[in-house]
Symmetry: C2
Subunit: 203 residues, 2 copies
Amino acid sequence: MVAEGAQTEKLIKEKAKKLFFQKGFLNATTQEIADEAGVNRALIHYYFRSREQMLDILLDETMREKKERVSSILSSDLPFKKKIARYIDALVDHGLNYPYLDNFIISETARHPDKIKEFCSKVNVKSSDLISEQLAAEIKKKKIAPITAEHFMVNLSALCNYPLLAKSVLQAIHGMTDTSYRKFLIERKQIIYKTIFNEEMPE
Amino acid sequence: MVAEGAQTEKLIKEKAKKLFFQKGFLNATTQEIADEAGVNRALIHYYFRSREQMLDILLDETMREKKERVSSILSSDLPFKKKIARYIDALVDHGLNYPYLDNFIISETARHPDKIKEFCSKVNVKSSDLISEQLAAEIKKKKIAPITAEHFMVNLSALCNYPLLAKSVLQAIHGMTDTSYRKFLIERKQIIYKTIFNEEMPE
DNA sequence: CTTTGCGTTAACAAATTTGTTAAACAAAAA
DNA sequence: TTTTTGTTTAACAAATTTGTTAACGCAAAG
């Protein structure tokens, strides 16, 4: 049973991401990660030196991937409402895969405030900048009620991300199964669009 | 320096809440809590037996308090929009005090799914039930666009809670200071009302 | 004044978790 | 076949963290 090096590294990363970002075990131990991947714990240190460094890599990788997906949509030349519809779609879909990613980032940055600053300086994407002109134009044309780009983006993030983040709680309160909650989240894409624009989502 | 018993217990709880719910250190050690309170670590075990039990008490106490505040508003006989305005106000104000409470609950329940179920069975408050009739009435009167009570409440929670939860991230992205972020959150009360009802918040 | 009991502390013990290292192992190169 | 290289493992060491305990101090009760 010899797993090629790069394979193992990838396997560990995948399983660690699963524990952290899908299951929400944000203090998963190196042992738990190793068990999940079915490898010896020392391999984590062999490939990543320390838990801390692995964590940084996972976070950087996952956030980068998400940011790419998301800002490619926001920087596209789609008409505004279409763009936002796509954005909602991407955000919710990504969140279905990694519901606890934001939760992880929040905890991590609460402890180590420098990390988020450092990361922002590397991957600086102030998403509100990407839509501010288009938003202003829509507002001028009276297509949308006046709102700043910051509040608009925060509204959007909140409506998309929160139900993913708070999955366990909302699911328990409303007594939903995993599948019915998933359905609820898919439904929300339309709801969010409607809440933001006060009109049905087209098509 | 003899601190009365009940005083000390209260002090420890306060400082622990500060670390967990205000600062977002959701793996604060017993030592950190003791230091914050300026007492010997053993006192935590003296009063709460174990870290685990203290945590349960803190969570129960804080959630109960929040639920009371919040559902008293929702079960009042205010007109619908006034009621929601109050609700937004209460939720954001509470969140200003304990921005990381939800984050804590989320992590906790991810690890121990039973806890949230147990809690829900004790303090069963399905907030959407408290407004569903009134909401339906408003919709019938064409005052609000059609939406289920569940989605309506999740929208509301999302818009209120997410910016508190994600404080560190949003603050970093938008380059805000603590005070300007606080201002931003206060502003949001109107924004949220406007987003939900598509009209200015009165008074 | 002595005793009793609660609150407090320091010191200790145990458990958990991370990180290191030397040896084992397998496949490719010599 | 032997060597070499990169990967994997078990065993060990160190650090962190939780939980326990015995002793100390002080105030109120006897």
